[in-house]
Subunit: 261 residues, 4 copies
């Protein structure tokens, strides 16, 4: 049996920091708008190929790109170049865990120049997976949310309290899943956290949920899905999370079926 | 002497959670794209009036809106309604600290219905400040970033390590400044954190930076600005941060002058 | 009594033609997307100030900007610069007819350099109207549409036939109103044409409609509004056009009242 | 030898006219922005699959979709539904001329309900071409522009004169090519017109150019390309047009090679 393999792409804006303050610091709301729109566009484009992208630090986005080939990657660079005042470099790598893949992608990009090297523009390094090497179990997504967040938080505490609760729960879960099982976790809005998990070995979801509750008092539930692409895995995870809601359970898996969109 | 007053607006998507899973869970990349674009648009619109908006949880955004009146607020609602498949409710409040203002805005919105009440649509509650009550010292912005982040992190550690470092530094700073001085802090991309601070009493920036270093090992610097609007204060803070870079200092204030854009 | 005065702004992309083919011709769908988004953004921004902008040739947009001052104009340039790979030059002029104002704006811009001069970037020439010189009758908008277009065309003939009918009706009306009364007319989607008319002297709307019918067989109706800004005049015109629909009439005026949005 | 076949898709906003005036007429700049952004998004998405889309009347867009299958079409509907306050119906048809294909697509859509039938939502009718039926000569694109437009018009006459010249040249060319050879022509910004021509029989480009000059005094040149998709054909046409520029010729064909992006 072949090992499941996760493919990630590091999307790095070229020389962005200096651009934001040259010749003078640029208006913050313009930068916020630029970053959000660029992310929205990359998200749409990666999503068309079945991938996921997370905004991470906005100037460094992290994507799960099983199913996207070289041409898809150059298309992302072309679109950004043709629509924005900035360009992006991309580094692709695959490995048996998300963390290992991203580590490799990061090294590859660092090797061709600094993020603030004005001579490094639109680098594209690394290799997408061959199609025949891909399997229907390559990507595992765990979709977490907070139990009854609206009634317990949004409608009850003030908006910054709610913000701090989600941020703290996310930071705690992020570190735990990275340390314990090489997973990459991202806050995706509302009370939702999406983790890209290694498909090979079982992730200790029970332990993760308990750890977050112990550290922060916040109670998470999680739906887990698997698929050939991030989209397939993520959609299964969403359906599993709906099962949690229906059944009043904390952990549900939806590993068998493929879901549409 | 009149007390400086901060005006905040809570921007809450109406009944958004249920919408994302009705009739079936919607594609994650579409949701990411929708949320980011909506934030980008609100940012542009709030920014035109001199305000700042932070994405916070994306379905609940937090804005500093000194200078935006009722008409500006209804224009935001109209724009969202005319461009998006969702609507927003807004709650405005002013007080002497950012935390107090947001607490008041949160209560006002909670009073008119749940975030997931399908009958609450486009609520607009609270009152903007009268123009004559406003002063040139109403808003204080502290703009933090991490010393030499690119050379120490982006170009050296892997992208998730860098992500975790920034997230952890942010979470630590956010809690400290909220607890110690009622400030609201937000991650704005890259290695940048923007704090809306109470103008009335001095914020312990030295203590905040030391606390973050002690807890996380990460070294921040900060530029502080003040103004009639978030934009004015934020632009001064950016210039002060440039001063830190030039002078090799950790804390700079730029409280006297007004800057263009 | 003071003469009504129309203020127009010519928005010209700097050196855009060469950019679209350098170093190689750029992908057409990217150019279409770029042009449309840039127009959408300028439209939102001009619209916030009460103005109208028409895409015209997309690389040369024509705006009615009564109510927008210097600061509003530089904000448009800043936003484009911070969000797009291209920049815009602006030329503002006011006169007693739309055609005269645009002629003046065109001359002013031509005087500072060619549209394809790589040294002319972000020119801003001309002067907005002083606020005290403005009146509630400065802008007259005539909003035309085709009688029963959906049932007679969209649902009956093929989509290119419908496209040709609207294009031909528009081209005919555009030339007539320009020649006869110095009005500037623009196709705004669907079966809608918006004309910016001189407020001073009565426009021969009856003649225009008859001319289009005689030349093309297409029957138009029109609502006419007046206001301090394009938005005010345009909203009145829309309400007048609704009156046509209700009353089965061809021409309605709504010159008295101001409408909200 | 198999006949070249063009596949077109009619993209029609559902019940859009009534929406724009319900409950009150919506702000014109919001409508302009909505229409332009929706077109930009559809353009990006159709473009990813190698297709072209033209805004036509904005509420009815016309696409050349050789290479886009059922799944690509439902993805367009899904994206619009998840990002906009409106939905789209799609009708796909293929034939040996662009005009015949669009006529068929129009009939199919009319058969399932009116554009203003509030019960017709997200209709998807017709069938994309089987992949094995497609050839490398299915799509012919002719890309026209005006000789020395910038120096003769943009930099010399006023902006509405230039607008009228292009509009009139376009309207004249559009009717001629439709009547003479079943081609569909669209204005795409600047001084550019793109015609989708039947691949089977030679189009009389010489005659078209002469006709436009005779009727309007405007001198066009044209690059012609052919390909498996609109993008391939269009990119070849752009390169051919560059050849015209280099060689000082009026008509160039680039029918042999495939170009990248």
């Amino acid at each position: 049996m072949s090992t499941p393999t996760i493919q990630v792409t590091l999307v790095q804006l070229d020389n962005y920091g200096p651009w934001t303050v040259t010749p003078e610091p640029r208006r913050e709301t313009d930068l916020q708008s630029l970053q959000a729109r660029l992310f929205a566009d990359v998200s749409r484009q990666v999503g068309t190929g079945g991938g996921y992208v997370f905004h991470s630090r906005f100037d460094n986005m992290i994507a799960v790109t099983n199913g996207l080939d070289d041409e898809d990657h150059t298309a992302i660079q072309r679109t950004v170049r043709n629509q924005y005042p900035v360009t992006v470099s991309l580094s692709v790598a695959a490995s048996d865990t998300p963390a290992a893949a991203l580590e490799l992608a990061s090294e590859r990009l660092q090797r061709v120049g600094s993020a603030q090297d004005s001579n490094r523009e639109e680098a594209l390094v690394g290799d997408p997976l061959d199609d025949e090497a891909r399997t229907a179990e390559d990507v595992t997504v765990a979709h977490f949310d907070v139990d009854d967040f609206t009634s317990r938080y949004t409608d009850r505490v003030d908006a910054f309290d709610a913000h701090m609760s989600v941020t703290t729960a996310y930071a705690t879960l992020m570190r735990y899943l990275y340390r314990e099982c090489d997973a990459l976790s991202f806050f995706v809005g509302g009370d939702n956290i999406v983790s890209i998990c290694p498909s090979a070995e079982p992730t200790n979801y029970q332990g993760a949920i308990q750890h977050v509750t112990a550290e922060t008092g916040i109670e998470l539930k999680v739906g887990i899905g698997r698929g050939r692409t991030a989209h397939e895995a993520g959609m299964s995870a969403k359906h599993a999370l709906e099962e949690c809601r229906t059944n009043g359970t904390r952990i549900e898996r939806d590993l068998a079926t493929a879901h549409g969109d």
